[in-house]
Amino acid sequence: MMIFIFIIFSILLSTSIILSKNSLVNYLALGLFSIALISLTTYSYIHINQFDSIYYKFDALGVLLTTVLSLLSIMSFYHSYLYLKRKANNPKQKAQYYAALILFISAMISAYFAENLALLWVSIEATSLFVSLLIFHSRTKDAMEATWKYLFISSVGLAIAFIGILFLSIVANENGLSNLSFTNLLNAAPFMNVLWVKVAFVLIFTGLSVKISIFPLYAVAIDAKTIAATPVNALMSTALVNVGFIGLYRIYLIIARTSTLLWAQHILMLVGVLSIFIATIQLTRVRRLKRLLAFSSMEHMGLAIIGLSLGRIGIYAAILHLILHSLAKAGLFFQLGAIRNYFTTIWIKNTGSYFKINPLGAMAFLLGIITILAIPPSGLFVSEFLIFKALFINHNYIIAILILILLSVIIYIIIKRATHLLYADVSEELLSKEVKQNPYESISQFILFVLVIYLGINPPVFFTDLINAASSILN
């Protein structure tokens, strides 16, 4: 019942924000929502592996991802406040932004804990709708284009995923199930007709690829992330991608109990390698910072998908990679909000000498780049190392070498652009005038990056236990 109460509470909060349009009400609602988030997270951790009404279950991966989401949303609230203050929006636009943000976060939580396949689909559809409202916030022509593409292809992709769900319901019907709850599907998995399961897997995977931003439907997500405001982008590139991943994970668990596991692993490996390859090629042409980070997300998700296909170690590594990537990417996007404030354009070639302008922020950005590129002591190094170890154990030498080469190219490109931003000379007219420095802005990123390093090198026991629990459902 807790999640239902949470969702109703968030609907009430967002309606009150929309109706009142008062900034005090906004901040009050955000504060209440943060408290609700924290309490839900602790509640879910305490009641782990229990059912919460018949439609939700607090399983290990859901708890992990919700913790990450809570941490990132609280930081995102602060950065949204800064963003909206700089943009000087009128109260109505601010109210719409905050209301959409609250609904977006609660839809994602509903998707993390969903136990029923149909409910998962509805939650993902809802996140699609609310994130489009957020992408559209700046109302420029580019925003319209990005929102239209994202909304349309997301709808088509989810329609395709729905066909996959209908196929799964065929096999559920054959085995006498009457609803699409995951526990029931898992129990009936070994007896399912192989052909339907394969078709369902391919269709659902294609539909979810919009959300995870991997091949084949990655382009609209990348475009959307090029446009969205940075606090929203921090949530989009991390939590929304995790929603897609958790959907894939649940279907993969069902597949793992049938005889099509090997075939599904081949497909996941293929898609992962293709995603990294395409990300590398596209990165050579990128000239905007947000787009750079968006393609970097695509590459990391490709790695996570490869990890998912590799058995026990791989899944552990994939989940660890997912969590650490979320923290690091969100930090980078928060810093990007500050960077965007100082320059007049979005093109990388028109930026530069950030170290001179904002030393603290530049330090944070540099730390973030080191973290996201999996350079030690970053925690991402640990997870990527585990993925490569799993690749070598499974004798996938050629794939491992290919990915290493591609990752090296990506590291080169990102460092080249980042050093241009940090150190290159820039002419005076490209800088924004009269910008106050806000030292508190960089605090959140330092917290996040230090957390990434800490979780990689010396993770606390409850953290590793949770990931082990999430990855051990596969036998």
Binding site: V122, S132, E145, L151, F152, F162, S169, S178, D223, I227
Partner: protein, 209 residues
């Protein structure tokens, strides 16, 4: 009698490939709604009364009346040209739609499962294939919305084919999808039409590298 409406639905798909006028697209969508109602009505012995009333509302009220009315409003608001050219000649599209119909009939012939009612499955599959093809060949976002609705009609038929595993919830999900899709996307097309002065997608390509 169900077969009659299924084949009439297949003929509307052929007319979709043939026509180039935007008004005719909307009109054909309305007719497809009636065909869907006919299909459902004549399989009545498998569905109970309350579900039947719900499906009646969904097909006739929403797919045949409300959605076409809304689409006409969007069309008039954007002052769409009467004829929307496709990037593939219509001659070829008709051949493609016929091939997809034959392929789906043959596919449903070779499936012998007790759980799929293949008489709905074949037009559902052909409809989904043709909807995706329709989106690919048209270069106007209004036509993309029409293609999305064709896919949704195909999914509706597909849910009929799959049988009665919670028909209520499945129909509710599809209904929500259609309504939300059409309303939100339609309102969006209006805004895009206002901002860009046209609804062609080559104006919507500024975000590429």
């Amino acid at each position: 009698m169900t077969y009659l409406f299924i084949l009439l639905y297949a003929i509307t798909l052929i007319y979709f490939a043939l026509s180039e006028r935007v008004k005719k697209f909307v009109w054909l969508l309305s007719i497809q709604g009636f065909m869907l109602f006919g299909i459902v009505f004549f399989s009545l012995n498998k569905i109970d009364l309350f579900d039947f009333i719900f499906i009646l509302t969904e097909t006739i009220l929403i797919k045949s009346i409300i959605v076409p009315w809304f689409l006409n409003k969007v069309r008039k608001h954007n002052k769409l040209k009467r004829i929307q050219e496709t990037s593939v000649p219509v001659f070829f599209s008709i051949i493609v739609v016929v091939i997809s119909l034959i392929f789906s009939f043959l596919l449903s012939n070779s499936l012998n499962s007790d759980n799929i009612h293949t008489k709905y499955f074949n037009v559902a599959f052909a409809s989904i294939l043709f909807g995706i093809y329709f989106i690919i060949i048209h270069k106007n976002i209004f036509s993309h919305l029409v293609g999305y609705l064709i896919i949704e009609n195909g999914i509706f038929l597909f849910s009929l084919a799959v049988g009665s595993v919670m028909p209520m919830m499945v129909n509710l999900a599809i209904l929500l999808d259609v309504l939300m899709g059409v309303l939100v996307l339609g309102v969006f097309i209006n805004r895009i039409g206002d901002a860009f002065e046209s609804t062609k997608i080559d104006k919507l390509s500024k975000l590429k590298d």
